[in-house]
């Protein structure tokens, strides 16, 4: 009899499983949807930094929903959209910037946003010095002459409008909870911004759920998403299938093969926009024979630019012109490019006194990045044709970076391949971080120390706070110097390729805010 009881239990269990499969439509038990829900899946962890002062990672996709900046930059028009500041002006010498705040803006706890909050937010960010706090380095003091006016006094001219529109280090938040609950209050998973969405729920391992903030200053007329879900889905195949089935509204990254398979779906559309992310390969200019400009120019002429653009990037990239990407002010469309020319490369190597099959180089790139891997493989094959032996070494990012910062320079790599994208819409973010002389190695991984170049870009940064056209001239000169000196191969400017539902309207892929969807501006149907 016991085995009959066992069989009965087994059958009951299987029956339960079978019943669960016969749920409501689509194979899922669903509550009645009274909300328009946007579901954003990222391939990596969403909330890394909860603190808006420290934010410097992937939480960029969620922060603009909960927090706002004074301004937002639109590269298409090259203008600033008023957000928490309705207008601003600067003094003629560029040392005083005055912002006029929007009235009747409330934080999510209900309190009113005033100039005191703006001052407190930015001063806290500066004082903590984390993330991209350096964008405020020129700020000497912040004054609040009245409830809705903020005045920045600078020690040197600086483009404060770009800083105020930055996706990092420029969030305006309520500091009152910090006085009550301690400075770690944000880090524990809380927020208090002015953004259109506020926190509904979050815990470890669970999606981040935001709900519409009913007192948002922009109001809720028309059609808006009222709930946002941010979750991590590492498997690209799962993200692609969820997009196809309509369970997902957006994902930040899909491999090209998944994009190709989704292209023919009648419910989806592919959106391609320039990004400000580019790929570069930095030569170790302090190591022989890479300290010879002729050798660097030869190696630049041996890179298969078009093959990488077409075969590795499937046409979703264009060869760079210098380090400032296409679409960012300061980009020079007339800047010289090196072209794939093996005979010219051979001639330059000969001129430099390098005999064939005597030059051995090591290139490092970030492990797991297929595009870098394939580009490096093509470069290796190309160099082999001119008698240069390239060893390609994939490494975890931190290990790759540590090797580049090795205290013994002889241990460092010959060529360091990596992406870069700006912290804010300023060419200085590329030129300073990547090529300015450094006392301690940080991101100038060509170890390019050129005081003439330094002077040009430092002056350009100051000029950009007063007269942008003068700054552009200096940036052009600096980039011309860079291309001539060839401290790096400027490989490609990448395009963002997004697959989104056809009924999603109002989406604009703004390269100044990488992977960000401003959901308040997007219409669900």
């Amino acid at each position: 009899m016991r085995w009959r009881r066992l069989a009965a239990v087994l059958l009951a269990g299987l029956g339960l499983v079978g019943l669960s499969a016969c749920g409501s439509a689509g194979g899922q038990a669903q509550p009645k949807a009274e909300a328009a829900v946007a579901d954003y899946a990222s391939y990596t962890q969403v909330m890394v930094f909860w603190d808006p002062s420290d934010s410097y990672s992937n939480e960029i996709i969620a922060m603009p929903q909960m927090y706002e900046t004074l301004l937002r930059y639109d590269p298409q028009t090259d203008k600033f959209i008023p957000v928490l500041a309705t207008s601003y002006e600067k003094s003629q010498d560029g040392l005083t910037w005055t912002f006029h705040l929007r009235h009747n803006v409330h934080f999510h706890d209900g309190s009113l946003m005033t100039s005191a909050n703006v001052k407190a937010s930015i001063e806290r960010t500066m004082q903590r010095g984390n993330g991209a706090a350096y964008i405020w380095d020129a700020v000497k003091s912040i004054a609040t002459p009245d409830k809705y006016t903020v005045v920045f006094h600078l020690s040197t001219p600086s483009p404060i409008d770009f800083a105020a529109a930055s996706p990092y280090a420029a969030w305006i938040f309520n500091t009152a909870p910090l006085k009550q609950h301690g400075q770690n209050w944000f880090a524990k998973g809380h927020e208090d911004g002015t953004g259109p969405y506020e926190l509904q729920s979050w815990s470890n391992g669970q999606p981040l759920v935001l709900k519409a903030f009913k007192d948002y200053w922009g109001g809720w007329k028309g059609s808006h998403y009222t709930k946002l879900v941010f979750q991590t889905i590492q498997s690209s195949s799962t993200r692609a299938q969820m997009l196809e089935s309509g369970q997902l509204t957006f994902t930040d990254f899909l491999p090209f093969q998944e994009i190709q398979s989704l292209k023919s779906d009648k419910n989806l559309k592919v959106v391609v926009t320039p990004s400000w992310q580019n790929l570069m390969a930095f030569f170790n200019t302090k190591k022989k024979p890479l300290d010879n400009v002729l050798v660097r120019q030869a190696l630049s002429e041996a890179f298969p630019y078009q093959e990488v653009d077409q075969d590795v990037m499937h046409g979703y990239a264009t060869q760079s012109r210098g380090p400032v990407p296409l679409g960012l002010w300061g980009h020079d469309p007339s800047l010289k490019q090196y072209h794939y020319n093996l005979s010219q490369a051979k001639a330059l190597l000969q001129q430099a006194g390098i005999k064939p099959n005597t030059l051995n180089l090591t290139l490092t790139y970030t492990a797991g990045d297929d595009n870098e891997s394939n580009a490096a493989a093509l470069y290796k094959a190309s160099l082999a044709q001119i008698g240069v032996n390239l060893t390609v070494k994939p490494m975890p990012w931190v290990a790759q970076w540590n090797l580049a910062k090795a205290t013994n320079p002889a241990q460092r790599q010959d060529i360091f391949m990596m992406y870069w994208w700006p912290d804010y819409a300023n060419p200085y973010s590329f030129l300073f971080n990547l090529f300015h002389t450094e006392k301690t190695v940080n991101f100038n991984l060509a170890y390019y120390y050129n005081s003439g170049f330094d002077k040009l870009i430092d002056q350009a940064n100051i000029d950009s706070g007063v007269n942008r056209s003068e700054a552009v001239k200096l940036y052009d000169q600096a980039q011309t110097m860079l291309v001539q000196d060839a401290p790096a191969i400027f490989v490609f400017d990448e395009e963002h390729v997004r697959v989104i539902p056809k009924q999603m309207h109002g989406y604009y892929d703004n390269p100044a805010y990488t992977n960000v969807v401003f959901w308040y501006d997007v219409t669900p149907n």
Binding site: L6, N204, Q206
Partner: protein
């Protein structure tokens, strides 16, 4: 206790000598050298290793497993969130494996060499040799894409997460939703559990079937079983009521080890089904050298192994009257 201390020393040494810079990971990929230097001091990474280990163990005895370098959240909170999800998944998978594997193993042993026995052994071999991630993809394609019967991934549907969220009581979504009377969430959780649990069940199913069959074949040939046959007892009665008890100890031991291993060893399944479990968390911690998380998970899994072994030993003592502990 000695095992756990030894484990902590070994894991600490391995994680600290592995190449990587936890301070750089803590500050984010674009941190400056100055920010990383500051973080190195704040995290205590500039102190001698024995001092760091001492501080870690002092915190550990006070219930503090440190802060994850990757997630910036307390490791204990991370584990408390991910462990129940893994327990729910692995327990469901093991139950399926046991419910299917045990009787099938017995039935196969009752007529060795017969058609059923052959099919059962083939099923066992297939289930242990098929790659779990491949099986996961296959189940998704068949049950989600082609038949539209079951969901693709996750623990519950997004609408349930947003509109009828389940309060964390035990961390088992099916149990918590039942306790709250949230039947929409319960059915959603059950539907989401089916495919990943079936995937997890495949390997232990084959293992249990083979072990039970082999153990029973040994037992069935013993004198006391032959006596029962001679006394007219039916074959299935002998198998399930008398012989199975002899086969259980070895099976339970292997099952407990497989259970503990699966808590972190199923990260591929968790990745395919987007199941927020300990496997995924641990894999990410290892890749990024998030040493507090690696150490925390290692110690917790170590404790689970010790507890599971104890439980199995007690169960075996209950089943087998020959086993007595002093």
């Amino acid at each position: 206790m000695l095992v756990l201390v030894g484990l902590s020393v070994l894991t600490f040494i391995i994680t600290r000598v592995a190449p990587g810079d936890p301070a750089a990971l803590w500050m984010g990929p674009r941190a400056s050298a100055a920010q990383i230097a500051r973080a190195t001091v704040e995290l205590g990474l500039n102190r001698p290793l024995p001092v760091q280990y001492g501080i870690y163990m002092w915190d550990l005895v006070h219930g503090n497993l440190g802060v994850s370098i990757e997630t910036h959240q307390p490791v204990l909170n991370n584990i408390a969130a991910y462990l129940p999800a893994s327990l729910e998944l692995v327990t469901s998978g093991m139950l399926i494996a046991l419910v299917l594997g045990l009787p099938l193993g017995v039935l196969a042993a009752m007529r060795p060499g017969g058609a059923f026995d052959t099919l059962a052994r083939l099923a066992a071999v297939l289930s242990v040799s098929v790659p779990t991630f491949w099986l996961a993809f296959l189940l998704q394609i068949v049950f989600f894409k082609d038949l539209g019967l079951l969901p693709l991934a996750g623990r519950v549907s997004e609408l349930v997460t947003v509109l009828e969220p389940v309060r964390h009581i035990t961390g088992f979504m099916t149990v918590d939703s039942m306790l709250e009377g949230n039947w929409t969430a319960f059915w959603s959780a059950l539907q989401h559990l089916v495919l990943p649990a079936l995937t997890i069940a495949s390997y232990p199913f084959g293992l249990i079937l083979r072990m039970v069959r082999a153990s029973l074949l040994d037992v069935i040939s013993l004198d006391h079983v032959r006596l029962l046959r001679a006394l007219g007892q039916k074959r299935h009665t002998i198998a399930f009521r008398y012989a199975l008890k002899n086969a259980l100890p070895a099976t339970l031991t292997v099952l407990s080890l497989t259970f503990a291993y699966s808590l972190t060893g199923t990260f591929l399944v968790e990745s395919v089904f987007n199941w927020p479990g300990l496997g995924n968390y641990t894999a990410q911690a290892v890749v990024t050298n998030d040493y507090p998380a690696v150490m925390g998970v290692t110690l917790v899994i170590g404790v689970i192994y010790v507890v599971l072994n104890l439980v199995v030993d007690l169960v075996i003592a209950g089943i087998d009257p020959r086993v007595r502990y002093v």
